[in-house]
Symmetry: C2
Subunit: 186 residues, 2 copies
């Protein structure tokens, strides 16, 4: 496939989001504008405790004006943080846990048609309490987050009923269930 970018301009440069407009020559020769929202990549993690409980957060989400049940997650720090470090930081900051074992489940595109954001999701097991990192100050939304523990089978059942509405949470929980089913079977 041949989609040549003839020119490119930044149409908006905000605090976190940046809009890029590319002029693209399509395979049939037509030249079209493509609007892409550039956004920092994210990590997310499904923490599963030894007794099969998943550690979730109930968290206010401003774009929807309501709270949602989600797995711990966050953006990569802009100073070159790698996903593996970021996920250990988020686990400590948001739910006060350290992971003996991190398994990468997938790196997915949140909305592949219009933004370059990707989210890397991990399964965390062998969990132990840790202190929040030195210098960590919770944002207002984080101060308001509520930790919710729930058996993995119950979280999957909520997903099956359409009651979980957050992409990274659905993907993480359903893939974690597939993996742990796999482990149990072998």
């Amino acid at each position: 496939m041949d989609y040549e970018v003839e020119s490119s301009r930044i149409a908006y440069d905000g605090e976190l989001s940046r809009v890029r407009v590319d002029r693209v020559r399509m395979p049939d020769g037509e030249v079209v504008n493509r609007e892409i929202v550039e956004h920092p990549n994210a990590v997310a993690v499904v923490p599963v405790e030894e007794d099969g409980q998943v550690v979730l957060l109930r968290q206010y989400r401003h774009p929807f004006g309501q709270a949602a049940l989600e797995i711990p997650a966050g953006k990569l720090d802009s100073d070159g943080e790698v996903p593996d470090e970021a996920v250990r930081r988020e686990l400590a900051e948001e739910v006060g846990l350290g992971a003996g074992r991190l398994t990468e489940l997938v790196t997915f595109h949140n909305s592949s048609g219009w933004t370059d954001e990707t989210t890397t999701v991990y399964l965390a097991t062998g969990l132990d309490p840790v202190d929040a990192p030195a210098g960590f100050a919770a944002h207002a939304e984080e101060a308001d987050m509520e930790v919710v523990r729930m058996p993995l089978a119950d979280v999957v059942e909520r997903a099956r009923r359409g009651e979980l509405t957050d992409a990274k949470t659905l993907i993480g929980v359903l893939l974690a269930a597939e993996r742990l089913r796999g482990r149990a079977a072998h």
Copy 2:
């Protein structure tokens, strides 16, 4: 929870994306800016044929400069189209199928921290060939799409191995598998 929007402005108004910046008074009294990317909502559909094959598309995605394996999907038309109509239109346009039965699986938030986009995902069964809608002209990317049929169990296995990278496809396929497993068990 009390997150009062004190003021709001449109910082960018593009072809599909619009950036809104809200000044929000947090529960602790602090006032912060929140940048939200407004984007049209989408529908997506997992078409499962009678013999258990899923109908997928291999499609070029400009934000990543590469092709991805995805379920059929599209944005809601701006003239007030409802998800149920949109998904029947996409099924006909993209893979030439009509559905005897549409089951809504979930309406999810693609990236709940920073955009208001939601995607409603359906399971489609009882499939029959139909003509593309009258007046339908494929865009260049659509002309370049390739239809790929694959057994549902193989698609789930690809998801399990982290090889599917599109959010709506992962969520649709994993939830369809949960539902169909449920139907088989009862």
